[in-house]
Amino acid sequence: MLCEDCREREAELQLTAIIDGAMRTLDLCSVCASERGLSSSSSTPAPLADFLAQLGPEAASGGEGSDEPCPYCGITEADFRRTGRLGCPQCYAHFEPQLRSLLRRLHGSPQHVGKLYMSAGSEAGDRIARLSAMRRRLQRAVDTEDFELAAELRDRIHELEGAE
């Protein structure tokens, strides 16, 4: 599509504006957009819904209701794209294929490497994973001479080991 201002260059951005009291959408090239005071490399934080809206044609179509809603909370992919929010923890499993690539784009990685959580009834495997994560944190606390944190982590590790 050509830019609606210059009619020469390809449009790269969409501007939604109130013009003469009516909402209008303009497709603009980056040159004309910057003349209107908009920057294509927006450094201001955009809400996730805007980000999602820029994610290509499947996002722009807003979903045709063809995909199954989350069986637990009932939200659809279109709901998510509109609000930028998921409905429940189970949505992460239900929308996994779409989310995986989104998470990579948002965070640069789809894999959590921070603190691990072990609920009361969790398996021995979780405990081992958590212990190894805590030992890693302990090592770093020692390396950075953060002895207060190190002492605390050591206590927590002892507690966890005792529970094994």
């Binding site: 930028g84 948002l106 965070h107 605390e152």
Partner: protein, 357 residues
């Protein structure tokens, strides 16, 4: 022990009363963790019954926190508009928690009596645990939150995924659920027009910025809230450490911009600072935004030792007590715009005068 929150009086203000490290440039440091409970939809999707159950579950867990200090818990629905605005102006709750007109159902705020931390219940996520400290104290602030999170996690069934970490309503928070942010005062970079370059740099290293009142808010009084943008794929200490290092650099840039201004245009700078002081010290009517901008010049003047008073702590308190809900609270009733501006001017005059002696 958990108590039903009573009078708000001076709760949630301890961050303003300390200058802290680099307190002339870094106003405050905040770390928050987003957590959700298994078995309930996220608050935005949950029924009133589910939200009530989440609130009760968290209340019970807070009561069981062994060896913890006392905790006060307020339900937003029990507070009037002014009380909710007081909490908002103190930065201990978000706009989302208090709502626009009516507060959302079963939204709660827990504050530790020793002022170390706070916890929002049924905000965007079931739990937003946070600590706010005056000055540049990110690492300590993180440790406070981490410690409480470990203990709460033993009492509450957090929603956790082996690959995605702590699950949150918005995928921008998933993983660590950690948002660390620092409120920095950067008039030197704004006046020397270097701020744009610095903010672009911040964006390039995975950080973002916003105004004083969080997402979508405008930058007023040269106060920028710098925070991590990503939450997944890095360890908590790495996120906090990275922000600490980058903000440390920004503080250095700010200091060098200030010394350059002082070298190249000392007269102009001194005049700007003293004019601001003159207006704040004698004006009979002050708008909120005007006050914020003039306070910025004062903070700069104190940091550069162009002014002997007021103290930085006084400026932090004015940032809070000079806001509308606080002025109304002091006046004991609602104030129209003109009355509010007059009350603001009177309050600021008194505070500045008492620091002069």
């Amino acid at each position: 022990m958990i108590r039903r929150g009573g009078e708000i009086d001076s709760r949630g203000l301890s961050w303003a009363a300390v200058g802290g490290e680099a307190g002339d440039i870094v106003v405050s440091s905040r770390v928050r963790l987003a957590r959700n409970l298994q078995g309930y939809p996220f608050p935005g999707r949950a029924s009133a019954e589910d939200r009530a159950r989440v609130l009760e579950t968290v209340r019970t867990a807070l009561g069981e926190l062994a060896g913890s200090a006392d905790v006060d818990l307020w339900e937003m629905g029990d507070l009037d508009v002014r009380e909710r605005d007081l909490l908002l102006e103190r930065h201990v709750v978000s706009r989302e928690l208090v709502g626009e007109n009516e507060p959302p159902s079963h939204a709660g705020l827990a504050l530790w009596v020793d002022e170390t931390a706070g916890l929002m219940i049924n905000e965007e996520d079931h739990i937003r645990l946070q600590a706010l400290t005056g000055g540049f104290e990110l690492e300590d602030t993180w440790r406070t939150v981490d410690r409480l999170d470990e203990r709460l996690g033993e009492l509450l069934p957090y929603a956790f995924h082996h690959e995605y970490g702590f699950l949150t309503a918005c995928p921008t928070n998933v993983g660590t659920g950690l948002r660390a942010s620092v409120l920095v005062h950067l008039p030197g970079l704004v006046l020397t027009k270097e701020i744009r370059k610095v903010l672009e740099g911040i964006g390039q290293v995975g950080l973002t910025y916003r105004g004083l009142y969080g997402e979508g808010s405008e930058v007023v009084g040269n106060l920028f809230q710098v925070s991590n943008q990503t939450t997944l794929g890095k360890e908590e200490e790495e996120l906090v450490g990275h922000l600490t290092r980058v903000v440390g650099k920004v503080v250095d840039y700010e200091r060098s911009a200030r010394s350059r201004m002082l070298r190249e245009a000392p007269g102009i700078l001194e005049d700007k600072v003293w004019r601001a002081y003159g207006i704040l010290r004698h004006a009979r009517s002050l708008g909120a935004e005007e006050m914020m901008n003039l306070l910025s010049a004062l903070r700069l003047g104190i940091s550069l030792k162009l002014l002997q008073s007021p103290r930085v702590e006084t400026l932090n308190e004015i940032l809070v007590f000079g806001q509308t809900a606080h002025l109304e609270e002091a006046a004991g009733g609602a104030l129209g715009e003109a009355e509010g501006d007059a009350a603001r001017a009177a309050y600021v005059r008194t505070r500045l005068q008492s620091d002069e002696s």
